[in-house]
């Protein structure tokens, strides 16, 4: 396991032979520029996510981790810098549905059944009725909810709703999955079960994932790399590679897991001291 606590110059990844799924170059985001409530949410951020990697953004509230995710998703645009997703500008990647996205709230449409919720992104792509039904059923089986296709979201528990949201995000088989604290509102047991499921799904579908969380153990368990951010202004202060021998419940008890947790915690504590 290697710890690098100076991600200001993430050189090694740029020269990596694997193609970058996401590449963020010198991005600064200022909200309400020129107004009294101007906020510098992100300052000169560089981040490269290699294909197939699971990268977690972690940091205290207000460090800009969600902003960074929304920038990658092209839900907002950067004030300075460029963002490339799957080799194309973020805006183009969004129009081509190169990513799936899930939020802390499942954001399911309450008037659609579970199946029709998963079908929605396919519907908007103009897929035929039969094809999208088959695909949605396949996705529901993948997240372990094949028997709930005809239920309405209000009839499901929070954890099940979140699984439907993940199925929906994966329905178009996007090369990239963006997740903003998707398990944040769930209890610890459900959370751990869904983490294990998510890893299996990502491995099966070979999806690159950018995951936002403020839970250290969640970040370490899920990721190949944990990117530590600090607030005012939001920036990346450390990037920690995690190499767990396995990713199952046993891994949660392994020394490597605890070492990585300690490393992330140190980086999070160190962050404010670096700030001017």
């Amino acid at each position: 396991m290697s710890h690098r606590v100076d991600a200001a110059a993430p050189g090694p990844e740029r020269t990596s032979p694997v193609r970058a799924a996401v590449s963020v170059d010198g991005v600064t985001k200022v909200f309400n520029p020129g107004r009294p409530d101007q906020v510098r949410a992100l300052s000169n951020v560089d981040l490269t996510v290699a294909e197939g990697q699971f990268v977690t953004l972690i940091g205290p509230s207000g460090c800009g981790k969600s902003t960074l995710l929304r920038l990658i998703a092209d839900l907002i645009s950067p004030t300075m810098g460029t963002i490339t997703v799957a080799g194309q500008p973020a805006a183009k990647a969004r129009l081509r549905q190169e990513y799936g996205i899930a939020f802390q709230q499942s954001g399911l449409f309450e008037w659609r059944t579970v199946l029709r919720n998963v079908e929605l992104p396919l519907e908007l792509r103009g897929m035929s009725r039969a094809d999208r039904k088959a695909r949605a059923e396949e996705m529901l089986a993948l997240v372990g909810l094949p028997d709930f296709a005809d239920h309405y979201p209000a009839q499901l528990s929070g954890g099940m709703q979140q699984r439907v949201a993940i199925a929906r995000a994966l329905a178009v088989s996007p090369p990239l999955l963006l997740m903003d604290e998707p398990f944040g509102a769930l209890d610890e047991m459900t959370r751990e079960r869904l983490q294990t499921e998510l890893l299996q799904i990502c491995a099966q579908t070979a999806t690159t994932t950018v995951f936002v969380t403020h839970s250290i153990s969640e970040a370490v368990f899920l990721s190949n790399r944990v990117v530590v951010m600090s607030p005012r202004p939001g920036r990346i202060t450390a990037s920690i590679d995690v190499d767990l021998p396995t990713r199952d419940d046993a891994a949660r008890q392994s020394p490597a897991f605890f070492d990585a947790i300690t490393a992330v915690r140190r980086a999070l504590r160190a962050a404010p001291a670096v700030a001017p």
Partner: protein, 254 residues
Amino acid sequence: MTVVRRVLPPIAFGVLMVVAWQLTVTVGRIAPFIVPAPSAIWAELVEQRTNVWNAGLASGLNALIGLIGGAVAGILAALVASRFRPLSEVSVPFAAVLNALPIIALAPILNNMFESTSSVPRRLVAGIIAFFPVFINTLRGLREVDPIHRELMHSYAASGWTFARKVRLPGALPFVFTGLRQASSLAVIAAVVAEYFGGLQDGLGSRITSAAAFTAYPRAWAFVVGACLLGLVFYLSTLLLERLVMPWKSRLIT
């Protein structure tokens, strides 16, 4: 079991109230022009049942036409107003002020605008009154969109029209029905009360006034009961429609 537990208490309460009313009137020897006994009202209701039924049909038809017209106009107006932001900013306070006016007071003027055998004035009053709750609530529903739904549709690169059709309209349905529930009761009240001010006299309102004028108080009350039942039928039908249109709502009144 649960149905019994839910339905029984209100029914028991209602029966108790009627019994208490009957006892108060008979024991207290209260004059019928103050309040007649339920038994007297019931006797009149049975005797006048054809009249109550016909008058109820006439008022009900007026209320229904007014409600449908007002609701359709309200929904269309809300669609237009939500499409153009400046328009909705102007129209909401304007509608709120208009709504505060006693629209029923228009009835005598409308009655004079049409012939005395016309049903149009009463339907117009019912329609105008039904318009406002539907308009205001629908507009609110159309403007309130879950920010996550907005971001999701943006991430799907959905067009404005797709967004309106798949998210905005279905999302506004609960609000539309909140408006319709209010409008359905108001339309009945308007259709009945509009007759107090002249016009064609074939509905419940005119029967109530004429019975009261002839000091036939139990009969007047029998028609009032008819008006209550009519209002109830409208309200329950709206609830039923809501359940049919929005099967995803497990509870109707939240």
